[in-house]
């Protein structure tokens, strides 16, 4: 009987306690916020980013889209043209801010407000080339997320 009681106590200690702890963690994290999800492919809309960019510094930018890679608040953006360096930056309070450096100097920057709605389906902002005085406004829409692999086949 004593052995049985000891086993129950041990079970409670090694299983019950972690389960209680898990409940506590889930409760503690319920209001935890994380950065807006902006990873994936974004298609430029309504503004001719490529033409404007080419006029500005003579190097082409991918005409239709940009691919954002996200790790928490950190962002990396490929503009799809080998001549353009990738942009690195972050997303904070719904604003994406990215810069591209070449030989230590900033050559390109992007700042955009992300649509706060569910799925963050759109963003609007400006692209700025160091070689150019003006800013190129853009509006981009997010391509729907890919389906899980289990559904692909």
């Amino acid at each position: 009987m004593r052995v049985h009681t000891k086993a129950i106590l041990l079970y409670l200690a090694f299983v019950g306690t972690p389960l209680l702890g898990l409940a506590g963690v889930l409760y503690a994290g319920r209001d935890l916020s994380s950065p807006a999800s902006v990873g994936g492919k974004w298609n430029f809309e309504g503004s001719d980013v490529q033409v404007a960019a080419a006029k500005c510094d003579g190097t082409p930018v991918h005409p239709e889209s940009m691919e954002i890679t996200q790790t928490g608040p950190r962002l990396s953006v490929g503009l799809g043209a080998a001549a353009q360096p990738d942009l690195d930056g972050y997303v904070k309070a719904g604003v994406a801010t990215l810069h591209a450096l070449k030989n230590g100097a900033q050559v390109l920057s992007l700042q955009a407000n992300v649509d706060p709605g569910p799925g963050h389906a759109a963003m609007a902002g400006t692209l700025k080339f160091a070689a150019c005085k003006g800013e190129i406004p853009f509006h981009a829409k997010r391509e729907p997320a890919k389906k899980p692999a289990a559904e692909k086949h």
Partner: protein, 417 residues
């Protein structure tokens, strides 16, 4: 036709890499699976892609990934079925309190610590595309995994099967496996990422009804096959075909339920009758094709998704170290302290903890589910894959150090059949 030619070339390259790295690992007394996981990473963007982007793009063009994924998923369905076939739920009955407490502790202690770590990682490595609860539950289960197949092989290789530590470890791993897959299914139900054909409220009861039905009716339906297998003294094609039909129907059913086809495959394996050595005969027949040909495709596909270059900067490596520390403390520490408190010696308890700390291939399967369902990000996926490799590599040296042959209990305990 081009895609088929590409796939055939990919198979050649993948098998060569897997054999090469597997041989290297065996030479240094590491499980073959470590070499296979490393080979996958070598073929991916982390090594081949970085060294020769053109060769990488030629061997693994983006439009060929669908076919390779299909083959690798097919292999996983067969593999999880084989894992289910290796389990005998009857063998879990009658095990002492050490096995029960240690196995459950080795699930729930790392589960809690994984969720605790999620409090720190969620704002740093995740985004609001996934809720904290889903993220924390997934981190918990990813920390709790034990690779039953790898563990069984290590126990065999180290002649540990008939020691108290080996017998307890195999029960712990079996319980971990069954519980782990149920929790993964539950998390996928909560995340509801697969957009099932049924309303959300119906999935949980339907899954439970389905699992009970398969576990109850499956053995009864398939028992005639088992007896026919005995009377003809071998597994014939027709019996194997019926077993395959049962497997794929079960995988399809759980996929349609919105859980995951691998859960259905695992269930089908458990429900396949053990009578007259039927399950063993089926497992034996499938093992060669699965292990030698199909699983390498999964290793390669996983490696192609593992981008170690994303771990740029000291901060990312600090997260990785935190993940490894939490994983080891939770799994090894949880099982060891629980076993020690039930009366095992410190040496045996620590050896048990070291054994169940093996994550191997099963961890890789779970991580891929997390990545495919957007629960974890690619950098976190890369960190967790590395963690799985590190914890698997640790096992053999730790066992050799903690539990050498001369320290083993001279009175062997029969292993569960």
């Amino acid at each position: 036709m081009m895609q088929v030619a590409t796939l055939l070339l990919q198979i050649v390259v993948i098998l060569a890499a897997i054999r090469l790295f597997g041989a290297v690992c065996r030479a240094v007394h590491q499980p073959q699976v470590v070499g296979e996981m490393v080979a996958g990473i070598m073929l991916g963007p982390s090594v081949l892609g970085a060294l020769s982007p053109r060769l990488s793009a030629f061997l693994f063009p983006a439009d060929s990934m669908g076919l390779l994924n299909g083959v690798s998923q097919f292999g996983l369905v067969l593999f999880l079925y084989s894992v289910g076939l290796e389990h005998d739920l009857r063998s879990l009955k009658g095990h002492g309190e050490t096995a029960v407490i240690s196995s459950h502790a080795s699930i729930f202690v790392p589960f809690f610590l994984g969720a605790l770590l999620a409090l720190f990682l969620y704002p740093r490595l995740s985004d609001d595309g996934i809720t904290f609860v889903h993220f924390a539950l997934f981190m918990g289960i990813a920390m709790s995994i034990t690779a039953f197949p790898v563990l069984a092989r290590i126990l065999e290789e180290k002649s540990l099967v008939n020691t108290p530590v080996g017998a307890t470890a195999i029960v712990c791993a079996a319980v971990d496996d069954v519980t782990g897959w149920c929790i993964v299914a539950a998390i996928l139900f909560v995340v509801h990422a697969n957009k099932p054909a049924f309303p959300v409220w119906a999935i949980a009861p339907l899954t439970i009804v389905y699992a009970v039905l398969v576990l109850y009716a499956g053995p009864r339906l398939l028992r005639p096959l088992a007896s026919r297998c005995q009377s003809t003294q071998g597994l014939k094609h027709s019996e194997l075909a019926w077993a395959m039909l049962f497997l794929f129907a079960s995988a399809y059913a759980t996929e349609k339920l919105g859980i995951h086809p691998l859960f259905g495959a695992f269930l089908a394996g458990i429900a396949t009758p053990r009578d007259f050595g039927f399950s063993k005969a089926v497992a034996k027949r499938l093992e060669d094709l699965t292990v030698v040909l199909l699983l390498p495709m999964f290793f390669a596909y996983s490696g192609l998704k593992t981008h170690l270059g994303l771990l740029n900067g000291a901060e990312m490596w600090m997260y990785f170290v935190a993940i490894v520390v939490v994983a080891v403390i939770g799994k090894l520490g949880g099982a060891a302290f629980a076993a020690r408190s039930t009366g095992m010696t410190w040496r045996e308890s620590t050896a048990l903890g070291a054994l169940v700390n093996t994550r191997g291939l099963v961890e890789l399967v779970v991580l891929n589910i997390g990545l495919d369902n957007n629960i974890i990000s690619p950098p976190l996926f890369a960190m967790m894959v590395l963690m799985a490799i590190v914890t698997t590599i640790m096992t053999v040296p730790l066992i050799d150090w903690i539990y050498p042959p001369h320290a083993r209990t001279p009175t062997p305990v029969p292993a569960p059949s």
